[in-house]
């Protein structure tokens, strides 16, 4: 695997439509234990990126990731905005430094992104946030890459990690983000941010698998 800007552009378009088709779940989750805007926040970001693919096309992958970060920062707002922006900033930083020419490069970039997101949000796994999906996915990605698994297997591993991570948020008590105010009452619902991450990660994996065949 290597990361090309045109893949980033196709991913942007795919993600936009994937978010739209998961509107009911994402929206309902943030209504249940948040404030109901997560879907529209993520969609606003996804649309903005999908609309800038022309601009992105001529950039290097790390430049594109950085541009995406800045766009997300100024369009998404809420908690999701700075977090996703940090994710892309971190990815851009590592990609610029290491390149993005191997699977491991890409995995490292993703891990760097998650690192940056954690720094911004001061969170950790187990707090019922998107980190419950992102952190296991980052680990899985790195390990699978190190083990030199096939793209198909890596994608399968990642999807499983994302699904499990998402499901793990159900019984957690939120201690970070808006749902933290709820205490015990946050139990029994999936986290909206974890859900949107799982949706996006799934889409990207499917896109990789498709372009791989």
């Amino acid at each position: 695997m290597s990361l090309q800007t045109d893949f980033i552009c196709s991913a942007a378009l795919t993600i936009q439509s994937a978010i739209i088709s998961h509107k009911p779940e994402i929206e309902t989750l943030d209504q249940a234990i948040g404030d109901g805007d997560h879907y529209i926040n993520v969609l606003r970001g996804a649309e903005a990126i999908a609309n800038m693919t022309d601009e992105l096309a001529s950039l290097t992958p790390d430049e594109a990731l950085n541009k995406i970060a800045m766009k997300l920062l100024s369009t998404v707002g809420g908690a999701a905005g700075p977090l996703f922006a940090s994710l892309f900033m971190g990815m851009a930083k590592v990609a610029k430094h290491n390149g993005a020419n191997t699977t491991l490069d890409i995995a490292a970039a993703f891990a760097g992104g998650v690192q940056e997101l954690i720094k911004r949000g001061k969170g950790k796994v187990g707090e019922k946030t998107m980190l419950d999906v992102l952190v296991p996915v980052a680990h899985t990605f790195i390990f699978s890459a190190i083990e030199n698994k096939s793209t198909t297997d890596i994608c399968a591993d990642i999807k499983t990690a994302a699904d499990k991570g998402l499901e793990s948020t159900r019984d957690l008590i939120a201690t970070r983000g808006r749902a933290a105010g709820l205490g015990e009452r946050s139990k029994g619902h999936l986290d909206a941010g974890a859900k949107s991450c799982q949706v996006m990660i799934n889409e990207i994996c499917d896109l990789i698998l498709k372009s791989n065949t």
């Binding site: 929206e27 209504q31 249940a32 234990i33 948040g34 404030d35 109901g36 805007d37 879907y39 529209i40 926040n41 606003r44 920062l73 100024s74 369009t75 998404v76 707002g77 809420g78 908690a79 999701a80 905005g81 700075p82 977090l83 922006a85 911004r120 949000g121 001061k122 707090e127 939120a174 201690t175 970070r176 983000g177 808006r178 749902a179 933290a180 105010g181 709820l182 205490g183 009452r185």
Partner: protein, 329 residues
């Protein structure tokens, strides 16, 4: 959802434009990035910049003007504004003595303002408001939510800034007020985020949500609907338990409507709250009743108590000239 709206996507801009036109003696509106500034740019003072998701009107844009805010950054409905807005707003109003951000304590607001603060080329500081005592045992790392007490912080910090106080002095007053202010809200109905088009939560005719957040975040407890006095009693108890004010303390009592509650009922709540607080040995030295920190169209109210001292009283009483609060001018 029945609302006065054309296209949900343009609702915020259309509303901001209306606000700016209706108050063109007080504010100027800048779009993309969205922010509003005081009409007459202040000179040589700490500038006070606030912001947050839309849907809490008059907070914050309604508090722009002499004696209160220099600028406000409205986000989308219930969504924190973004750092580019805050930076542009701060740059537009900066008056050589630094920028004080007033930020309600929500992960999104905190992070966006944080990133703006990091990128801002001026000296700056932040007052985080966290007056919501609804969550009793707050071991949660994100801390308490900022709600209607923010209005008191903005009023007083805005006042001290007009005196030429420096950045740290302004911040210190804001932090002090926040520390001695407690609020709690109750919802009788849910709010409806226009983009979602349906109520955030279901609640029956016989239920209330005690400790509701101003974004419709579920509160402390789903309780049975009961008479006003019983609800107010529970709210006052929570506030007293939190603030533990000494006897004979002077306080400011704010009864705030969440959007769809008639004034008649807010004054009824005030009547009971005043009685209960007086029974607790407190003196209501200042008061405010009305819609100041709303949750779109929620039926409900919050009660805020701020423990006063001479400094806070002085800055509460000083002249203010904004769309939402006006006296002494």
């Amino acid at each position: 959802m029945k609302k006065f709206v054309n296209d949900v996507n343009n609702m915020l801009t259309e509303s901001l434009s209306g606000f700016a036109k209706a108050h063109n003696d007080l504010v100027s509106l800048h779009l993309e990035p969205n922010y509003l500034t005081r009409k007459n740019k202040a000179k040589n003072k700490v500038v006070i910049v606030s912001g947050g998701g839309a849907g809490h009107e008059p907070l914050h844009a309604g508090f722009i003007g002499k004696g209160m805010l220099d600028a406000a950054c409205p986000g989308q409905v219930f969504t924190s504004p973004t750092p580019d807005q805050m930076i542009a707003a701060a740059e537009a109003v900066h008056a050589d003595k630094g920028v004080l951000f007033i930020v309600k304590n929500y992960a999104g607001d905190v992070m966006n303002f944080e990133m703006a603060a990091e990128m801002l080329p001026f000296e700056n500081a932040t007052v985080l408001t966290s007056d919501d005592c609804a969550v009793i045992n707050s071991t949660f790392t994100d801390g308490r939510r900022g709600v209607a007490g923010t209005v008191i912080v903005e009023k007083c910090v805005g006042s001290i800034a007009e005196t030429g106080a420096d950045l740290q002095t302004c911040k210190a007053l804001g932090d002090k007020i926040n520390a001695q202010t407690a609020s709690i809200g109750v919802a009788l109905t849910s709010c409806t985020v226009p983009a979602a088009g349906k109520p955030t939560f279901e609640i029956s005719e016989t239920e209330i949500e005690m400790g509701i957040g101003i974004h419709g975040e579920p509160g402390r407890k789903r309780e049975t609907m009961r008479e006003a006095d019983a609800m107010v009693n529970g709210m006052i108890d929570a506030i007293i338990a939190d603030l533990q004010p000494k006897k004979d303390t002077e306080i400011l009592l704010l009864v705030n409507g969440l959007g769809a509650t008639p004034l008649m009922e807010l004054y009824l709540i005030y009547n009971t709250a005043e009685k209960l607080l007086t029974e607790h040995g407190l003196t209501i030295a200042r008061s405010l009743v009305g819609n100041y920190t709303t949750a779109i169209d929620m039926t409900g109210a919050s009660i805020t108590v701020c423990v006063l001292d001479d400094e806070i009283k002085q800055h509460w009483d000083s002249p203010v000239n904004t769309a939402g609060l006006r006296w002494g001018v």
